[in-house]
């Protein structure tokens, strides 16, 4: 079942339709409802290696639907601590629950101050309205 449109207010957002849930010096990353809806049902998740580093505003992996491939843009920089294997095995989990079971990676933040450059939910909704 595809999730209905929502943008939780406890997350920080990147204009490339990615979200971050920050907890201390770690963050969990994923894509927003808008991103999964634009792509359609996901059929492949190409994750980064655990232990590799990701950099803010650059690609850390890919998701694919039947017709399209999309880069995953990291909203923050850090080291990959965990990849969500559930999504590797069942990519449609992202469509079902983009902010919960459909998370993509967990990272240890290398530059905590980067969070100040991310959008809150009101600012992200503005991005969507202007899209």
């Amino acid at each position: 079942m595809a999730a209905s449109e929502s943008y939780p207010d406890d997350l920080l957002y990147h204009p490339e339709h990615d979200w971050a849930r920050i907890d201390g010096d770690e963050a969990v990353l994923g894509v927003t409802w808008y991103a999964q809806d634009a792509l359609g049902e996901l059929v492949h998740y190409e994750p980064p290696d655990v232990g590799s580093t990701v950099s803010k505003d650059t690609s850390y992996g890919e998701v694919e639907s039947v017709k399209a491939v999309s880069d995953l843009i990291s909203p923050l920089s850090g080291e990959v601590l965990e990849v969500n294997r559930t999504v590797v095995d069942a990519p449609e989990t992202v469509n079902d629950d983009p902010y919960g079971d459909g998370w993509l990676i967990r990272i240890r933040l290398s530059s905590a101050e980067e969070r100040d450059q991310l959008l809150d939910v009101a600012a992200y909704r503005k991005v969507l309205e202007d899209a």
């Binding site: 359609g40 049902e41 059929v43 492949h44 190409e46 890919e62 694919e64 039947v66 491939v69």
Partner: protein, 330 residues
């Protein structure tokens, strides 16, 4: 909606995967009115078709249809078409949308005294209804594949063609352009799922039907493309000598179906290690793996051969398989 060969076409209605499954398990309808139709008429219509198309038109009785190729001098494929014999001296040829003008010009140039080639695409609409329950939902009896008859469906005059592009049982219904909306609504009212271009592509790929412009074209000869079965090499048509030669000596490259053995989705244009290239690739909704068609050197073309596809810089293993990639369990 996306632009396609000058038409605005829906990629999907509900979702590619759900539409795909509807066709494999029940019935789906595709509006393929973008496809072109040519009419070839006259006492020498048969001679024109025999001289320009690869299959043996003499095997075609009125009421029957045949898959055929318009070939170049070098055995390449201008288009793949279905020829319907309407009566003794009249044929209806369904062609790919993007080749409509090229096909018409190609045949017009080769017209004989006593044959007339007309582009009648704007007069007709074409709706494909496909799936194991397609006939039941339309209230039609089973028919012999590659035949057609004229009839009425919910009050609309239709040409019922026992053809399709999904590997499922079904029909392609040609009707007058002005009746298309009424026919579409009637088919949906019978519980058939509307399907877009996306599902049409994944369905045909699972059963290894080539797509002109992706997998076949003027740059590849019909033998390398695996369409020798549609070439009557005992007849005389454009490029036949070259095709006989290729058949005799064996092609250097072959179009093969393959299945990914590692997680990845192949896409058109990706290199295959050893000099090959992916011409069509997608995710198979039925098998839940990446699948594709591609040209590889003949030595790599045997079923069971391991291939390595370059997926945006990542080497991913695949295996050449026999056609079709997907087959219903019996």
């Amino acid at each position: 909606m996306v632009p396609f060969a000058g038409w605005e076409m829906p990629v999907q209605y509900d979702g590619v995967i759900s539409e795909h499954r509807a066709v494999r398990t029940d019935a789906g309808v595709f509006d393929v009115s973008h496809m072109g139709e040519l009419e070839i008429e006259g006492p020498t219509a048969r001679d024109l078709i025999q001289a320009t198309l690869s299959n043996d038109v003499d095997k075609l009785r009125p009421g029957a249809a045949q898959y055929s190729l318009i070939t170049t001098e070098s055995g390449g494929i201008v288009d793949d078409v279905i020829v319907y014999r309407l009566d003794e001296h009249r044929y209806f040829v369904v062609v790919n949308a993007s080749n409509r003008d090229a096909d018409h010009a190609w045949l017009k140039e080769r017209e004989l005294r006593g044959s007339d080639v007309r582009d009648v695409s704007d007069e007709y609409a074409l709706l494909a209804v496909q799936g194991p329950r397609a006939l039941e939902r339309l209230g039609l009896e089973t028919g012999e594949p590659f035949t057609f008859e004229l009839g009425l469906l919910d009050g609309v005059e239709v040409m019922v063609n026992r053809t399709g592009y999904t590997g499922e049982e079904g029909v392609e219904l040609a009707c007058m352009d002005e009746d298309a909306g009424r026919l579409w609504d009637a088919i949906l009212a019978r519980g058939v799922t509307p399907c877009g271009l996306g599902a049409r592509d994944t369905l045909r790929l699972e059963v290894c039907y080539p797509l002109h412009g992706n997998d076949i074209g003027p740059q590849w000869d019909a033998i390398s493309s695996g369409l020798g079965w549609a070439c009557a090499l005992g007849t005389e048509f454009t490029g036949v000598e070259r095709l006989r030669e290729l058949k005799e000596r064996g092609p250097e490259r072959k179009l093969v179906p393959f299945v990914m053995r590692e997680k990845a989705i192949p896409r058109q244009g990706m290199p295959i290690e050893g000099g090959g290239e992916v011409t069509s690739g997608s995710h198979s909704p039925m098998l839940d793996v990446g699948i594709g068609l591609g040209y590889v050197p003949a030595a790599q073309a045997k079923a069971g051969t391991e291939l390595v596809v370059d997926v945006r810089g990542r080497a991913r293993k695949a295996e050449v398989v026999k056609k079709p990639i997907y087959q219903k369990e019996r």
